[in-house]
């Protein structure tokens, strides 16, 4: 009998909760899995090349990919070691659309 169903309060709209949760988790997971898997190798090889010329710290290279609309930007920054003269570190950045 559903005679008294009218008297009960309507349950919360769970479908919209599901949709919102999914929207967030799917976007987050796409950002993670969309990341190219060659980055660690790229980082190591670049480090090896640089070390032929300059003795940099293994942690001195920072690589990441950012998505801006339809284009992806590969950002690479290398902190060169301080010279004798106090001038701070020199950072080089390369970008690619």
């Amino acid at each position: 009998m559903r005679l008294f169903d009218f008297l009960r309060s309507r349950p919360k709209n769970t479908a919209s909760v599901a949709k919102e949760r999914l929207r967030i988790i799917v976007a987050q997971e796409r950002a993670q899995t969309g990341r190219p898997d060659y980055l660690p190798l790229l980082r190591r090889e670049i480090l090896e090349v640089i070390r032929k010329y300059v003795n940099v710290d293994p942690d001195a290279i920072d690589i990441h990919v950012e998505r801006e609309g339809d284009s992806e930007v590969l950002e690479l920054s290398v902190a060169l070691p301080e010279r004798n003269a106090p001038g701070g570190s020199v950072a080089a950045a390369a970008g690619e659309a």
Binding site: M1, R2, L3, P11, N13, T14, A15, S16, A18, K19, R21, L22, R23, I25, V26, E29, R30, T33, G34
Partner: protein, 270 residues
């Protein structure tokens, strides 16, 4: 030209095998030469859904390991002359499949003039599932309007655009379709189930069909008759529409609106 269609989902129990069987039967009923292959090695079920479980002598793994010919292993459907089933092995594990073997079988089916090869993927994202999708031209991603199924489908869509032969060779993307199953229009209307547009918006691909939740699906699997052949059931008719769309026809979605209940049913109905 042979088209390879993978039926996949990530999550188990959403209706992959039911869908693979019905799509294969629907395409064969349109006069196409179709083979449907069960990639779920160790847990075969396509033979039961197709109703040919007592006629399995050789299976997919036997063909891959060259223990029999492909012709010996293909089971001809009793209802449609142009439909063949290739069962999975029940005794081996999933490592019995390998890429070269699968490629050879698909090549042989192409040479035999098959129009379609439907690959019924196992659940998960391991070897069987990845091999089922690897050679695909098209993918039908089966999804229930429910959080875990939608999330897993998104993962599968990511794999389809990176871990397939088409993606690796740069031969254009695998054409992706969503098939919503176990859809309950009443619950969608009541706000308890995500609707077609919600799922489409989250996953961002087109919907090939919507199969309503139906008693017909269980009855069909009980009998070993793919549900598309039950023209009394809404699910059967919805699968027929999906096959028509797969073949390029335009058909409106049916069975997606809640039934209006009369006053009597609203008060006394179940």
């Amino acid at each position: 030209m042979t088209e390879i269609i993978v039926v996949t989902s990530g999550k188990g129990g959403v209706g992959k095998t039911t869908t693979a069987a019905s799509l294969a039967v629907g395409l064969a009923r349109r006069g196409k030469k179709v083979a449907v292959i069960d990639f779920d090695v160790g847990l075969r079920n396509l033979d039961l859904i197709m109703g040919c479980e007592r006629r399995v002598v050789y299976d997919f793994v036997n063909v891959i390991h060259e223990e029999c010919t492909l012709k010996q292993a293909l089971i001809k459907d009793k209802r449609f002359d142009s439909l063949y089933v290739l069962a999975a092995s029940q005794t081996r594990d999933k490592d019995a499949l390998n890429k070269e073997g699968v490629e050879r079988v698909l090549k042989e089916l192409t040479d035999e003039g098959f129009d379609y090869v439907v690959c019924d993927s196992p659940a998960g994202i391991e070897k069987g599932a990845s091999l089922a999708m690897y050679f695909a031209d098209r993918a039908v991603v089966v999804v229930n309007p429910e959080v875990s199924s939608v999330r897993d489908s998104d993962r599968i869509l990511g794999l389809l655009s990176s871990k397939t032969r088409r993606a690796e060779l740069g031969n254009g993307p695998v054409e992706q379709h969503l098939l919503l199953t176990r859809y309950n229009p009443e619950r969608v209307a009541g706000g308890d189930m995500m609707g077609i547009d919600d799922v489409k918006e989250i996953l961002g691909i087109e919907v090939l069909g919507v199969i309503p939740e139906s008693q017909g699906v269980l009855s069909a699997s009980n009998a070993g008759v793919p549900v598309i052949l039950d023209d009394q059931s809404d699910a059967g008719k919805a699968y027929e529409d999906a096959v028509a769309r797969l073949a390029g026809e335009t058909r409106p979605m049916r069975f997606i609106d809640a039934q209006k209940k009369g006053l009597f049913a609203r008060i006394f109905g179940s």
